[in-house]
């Protein structure tokens, strides 16, 4: 049992996944870098970056762990009429619809404390809310797809789905934020 806790064994178990995830995250970094000038011009948008990425990843990982528990308990079936599936999907979108307006207002308020803001608070709230709701819908789609693939390949969703979903949602978070910034500012 002691060998499971050696530096070498832990590294062998975690490093390959970590390398893959780091490369995925570099993709989201490149998207972020491509609108760097826009972000640097508006501090409230820069403040939105970590919280949007983080909340999108969290929404996905909470949904993934709930679905994988239901899956292990045998109460999940892949049908739109499934209560467990539909209920969790609805809750994810509802959480985003509640939290992201707060995120937008919070980002604008904090940015105005630490420096000058160049955007109206309503613009930042609209950017955050629209990005949040779109992200929630995408997070549901990605989580369902990943859980379904894990199920078909008989992998344990706990091992595979959560890291994949969290990091894919990180990337989508940046892409959707970028789109929202383009559309609304």
């Amino acid at each position: 049992m002691a060998t499971d806790w050696s530096v070498r064994a832990i590294t062998r178990a975690t490093l390959p996944v970590l390398v893959g995830l780091t490369l995925v995250e570099l993709g989201s970094g490149l998207v972020l870098g491509s609108f760097e000038r826009r972000l640097l011009a508006s501090p409230s948008l820069l403040v939105l970056v970590p919280v949007t990425i983080g909340t999108a990843g969290n929404l996905g990982s909470i949904l993934a762990s709930r679905l994988s528990t239901a899956f292990h308990l045998g109460t999940l079936s892949f049908s739109p009429a499934d209560d467990e599936l539909a209920g969790n999907a609805v809750a994810t979108v509802a959480l985003a619809a509640t939290l992201f307006p707060v995120v937008g207002l919070g980002a604008w308020t904090l940015a105005s404390f630490v420096g000058t803001t160049t955007l109206a608070p309503t613009t930042v709230v609209v950017v955050a809310s629209s990005a949040g709701v779109v992200l929630a819908v995408l997070a549901v789609a990605v989580t369902l797809a990943a859980t379904y693939v894990a199920y078909r390949l008989s992998l344990d969703p706990d091992d595979v789905v959560i890291p994949v979903v969290t990091n894919v949602c990180d990337v989508l978070g940046v892409v959707v934020l970028f789109a929202a910034v383009l559309v609304f500012t």
Partner: protein
């Protein structure tokens, strides 16, 4: 249970943890928003940010999960003892993997930006920022994870449910704060070397 009941349950269960990590994310955002001068000075730094923040979550989330499994199995005692071999191995592995992933992110960002023909700071600068930030936030997160998991376990809380929210919240804040420190230290060092040359 009908769809509405499931949705209501899921919503209530997730809201507190999400709200807590939201506060952490906003604080991290404020630090990032105050870092504009550094982001301009070190080209390519913004490209590194998602990878560095995600590394904190991935590495220390799995360190925390390992620690709580060890407590449940009785392999690790809920006592901070630097002599405990398993605790020391798990902490060193987390730090080493975190540093490797940070270095990979720095090299990857420099190579990709150069291939795309976009401006990028020297590789040594990006590497120094990534490694210093990885080391400082790694040490801080190790302490936070160990203290929270052990204290939670001793008070009869399930450490599994504590680790996720704690790591995502503190990981973002520490990640950005130590990134700022690392950039300032690196820029000061570059200034010194440049001045001497």
């Amino acid at each position: 249970m009908g769809t509405v009941d499931v949705a209501r349950d899921a919503y209530r269960e997730a809201l507190p943890a999400l709200a807590a990590s939201l506060v952490g994310g906003l604080l991290a955002g404020v630090v990032l928003g105050g870092m504009r001068a550094e982001l301009r000075a070190v080209e390519g730094l913004l490209v590194l940010v998602p990878a560095l923040l995600a590394t904190r979550g991935n590495v220390y989330g799995s360190f925390g999960a390992r620690l709580s499994t060890g407590l449940h199995q009785g392999l690790v005692e809920p006592r901070v003892d630097a002599g405990d071999e398993r605790l020391r191995a798990a902490a060193s592995a987390a730090l080493a993997n975190g540093l490797l992933a940070s270095a990979l992110a720095a090299v990857g960002a420099a190579v990709l930006l150069r291939l795309l023909g976009r401006p990028v700071a020297p590789l040594a600068t990006l590497l120094s920022v990534a490694l210093v930030a990885g080391l400082l936030s790694g040490v801080a997160l190790t302490v936070v994870v160990v203290v929270v998991v052990f204290a939670g376990y001793r008070r009869g809380r399930n450490p599994d449910t504590l680790v996720g929210p704690v790591v995502t919240t503190t990981g973002d804040v520490f990640g950005v704060v130590f990134l700022l420190l690392a950039v300032r230290a690196t820029l000061a060092l570059v200034g010194l070397v440049g001045g001497a040359g």
